[in-house]
Symmetry: C2
Subunit: 384 residues, 2 copies
DNA sequence: GACGGGTTCCGAAACGTTTCGGTTCCAATC
DNA sequence: GATTGGAACCGAAACGTTTCGGAACCCGTC
């Protein structure tokens, strides 16, 4: 479908075609269309720097310099200009400014898991809150890129960023095998990754100490007398899964317990999948008295699986999770878990990105601490 | 703090001042600073329409028209231009385009409750998901305005929108006495309100049928044989509270039950506040056998209050909530509640806004339906 | 009274697009 | 052979900023 001339809007082709049947000359065509689509901003003319210049009797240069706080303008002139600006209800056109300054003061947000399913663990939302707060404090605005829809899928990471001219990007929720990730590393757009450890001149990351966290959880279980401890992990494409597995292994090792590969299964970070996998695991290895899950959601699934087999938690089986999502303190039994501060992850991501942008980042990575939260889902091993 | 000339960046004042001590002439000053701050986009020159024109041997006009699908360009030329564009890895500069087109294809998001507290009910997040999906499908990007920080507080609604030149705005989570709200109505920026019923040429709203929903909940309680039914409402500044109260009143009326004002208290949509208020209400009126809460969170608080008084839910007290948040199906007892589709609210908001933007909105309001979800927290009235 | 230096201002170019108002060329028509 | 009309293209202005390179003026100094 081609646009005919004088057509400013795809969607209005129909109107125009109808219209064309009634008009002859190019002039009337154009004119009428102008009437049909009045400029939105034009309607109630928004004051520009030019208007201020005219009203204040100075040049645009001076207005710009005055408003931006430069020193080579007389204070009296500056006051006058400011007064006129206020009177005209002026606010700068950031588009124009960005165009010449080559900085937009916006940071892009590429969230892969911005779906309704993310509602249970609130990971995405809480990270977003942190980013938003930090960006707000520092004068940056956030622009959201959706990557889930078909339409956006066609555009590459670079296109997204180049078109909108974001100063930098924060990526969250993308898997290690996501095509976007390659692009990120190859492009030189400043960016911060959440939970993916890549460092370079223009890319940094922030994550929690997943290894240490997992280790704490398993040590807790060991401390309760458990010797046969299973693990429900996430999936291979997640860096955090590797780390949590490593923490699990480490804790066992330090306690001189055997690490058995068959005691570890993947639950895809999903409650239902974990339920299936946990049931199978418990059937295959009935001696297991405790399970460490790489997420709270999977812990909930595991508890359901246990219940399905007539095993009470925590009496017959201890279950520890990871994340400390809201549900963890409301479910029954309440969940023993490793808390990670998702808000802080977001906040630190924004800090780091802005530091990189402004050329004063020391380290390009930030690793946050975890907390063991003891609740009802873990208990002493009575068989010990 | 004033900027000296040749200073492109506030934050670098220090560097420059230090630097100035070492240089004399204006020329060397400028030159050196240029070296110090290379243009970010300039580094690896991003292809512009001009470059394409040069490489393809045509004018910029033709390139623009070719890429935008206008009809008065030879198909052979168009193909060549497209090829060159791809080769140069061209992507249009939306800043420049927006500047002349006076349309940015972005919609602003003004969320008042973008805080970590919003994590329990996922209202904000789920609405956001809906908006994001719809906007993505229709080629709009989202830009987030934070209103909670001090810095942003100074800027008026109009300034925010004018500066970023968003095409339209969606407002969510603002109270009826929020100063922003006045501005919205007075400005002529197209906008859609969530849960605030204001209509005009440029503003519409979407909400759920709160009255009907509340009525359903209370009718359910009445159907279970309850005659003394209390209500924990939100607060006066919320439109939804008025509606839900009205629904409560209506249900009582149609069942020929007395509406007693002392049976309705405000819980500020907060779990803990509701707990306090519910305890007081139950003490003052021990004959109450059922309570309708204007939110699930408050229902949870109410259940805690009941437990604190030795009343089992649902045996001694039935509790119905509103929202159907995630917790509602995980708490114990699970909550009987009125489900509202928050995702849909977001999605419809975006649809409506875009319709208004493109001048083809029929109605300027959209009211969504609710669903009664029966779970464990309500039961037959044994005293009846 | 020429000169240097500081203060205050300004003209014009630049950023990357879109689009108005043409022009040029060629084939078809009278 | 002059006229018309369409197809294909282009120059230049416009959008609203910032900033480079001066210019004008005044004051003090040699």
């Amino acid at each position: 479908m081609l646009k005919t001339r004088y057509n400013a809007d795809w969607n209005l082709l129909l109107h125009i075609e109808k219209f064309n049947q009634r008009v002859e000359s190019a002039f009337s065509k154009r004119y009428s269309i102008d009437i049909m689509f009045p400029k939105r901003f034009g309607g109630m003319h928004v004051a520009t720097i030019k208007d201020i210049a005219k009203h204040a009797g100075v040049s645009v240069t001076t207005v710009s310099r005055a408003l931006n706080g430069y020193s080579d303008v007389n204070e009296k002139t500056r006051d006058k200009i400011k007064a006129v600006a206020k009177e005209l209800n002026y606010s700068p056109n950031l588009l124009a400014r960005s165009l010449v300054m080559k900085k937009t003061k916006t940071i892009g947000l590429l969230v892969s898991g911005m779906q309704i399913e993310g509602s249970k663990d609130n990971f995405t939302y809480e990270v977003l809150c942190g980013i938003n707060d930090c960006a707000g404090e520092r004068g940056y605005d956030l622009i959201l890129f959706s990557t889930n829809t078909e339409l956006q899928q066609e555009k590459t990471y670079n296109q997204l960023c180049q078109e909108r001219k974001v100063d930098g990007v924060i990526l969250q929720g993308i898997k290690t095998d996501d095509p976007y990730l390659r692009e990120v590393v190859e492009s030189d757009i400043p960016c911060v990754l959440v939970d993916i450890p890549i460092e370079s001149d223009s890319v940094g990351y922030v994550t929690t100490d997943n290894k240490e966290g997992a280790k704490k959880a398993v040590e807790h279980l060991i401390g309760l007398g458990h010797r046969q401890i299973g693990m429900i992990n996430g999936h291979k494409q997640a860096f955090v899964s590797q780390e949590r597995l490593e923490g699990y292994r480490l804790a066992l090792e330090e306690a001189k317990l055997d690490f058995k590969e068959e005691n570890v299964v993947d639950g895809a970070f999903s409650e239902s999948e974990a339920q299936v996998q946990a049931a199978e695991l418990l059937k295959k290895n009935p001696k297991i008295t405790a399970i460490f899950c790489a997420s709270d959601l999977m812990a909930l699934g595991t508890i359901k699986a246990a219940a399905g087999m007539g095993k009470q938690v925590p009496q017959a089986l201890s279950v520890a999770g990871f994340d400390d999502i809201i549900l963890a303190s409301y479910s029954s039994p309440t969940l023993t878990t490793i808390a990670q501060d998702r808000y802080q992850i977001g906040y630190e991501s924004a800090i780091l990105l802005i530091q990189i942008l402004e050329g004063k980042a020391g380290s390009r990575k930030k690793v946050l601490n975890t907390n063991l939260i003891k609740r009802e889902s873990t208990a002493k091993n009575h068989e010990a």
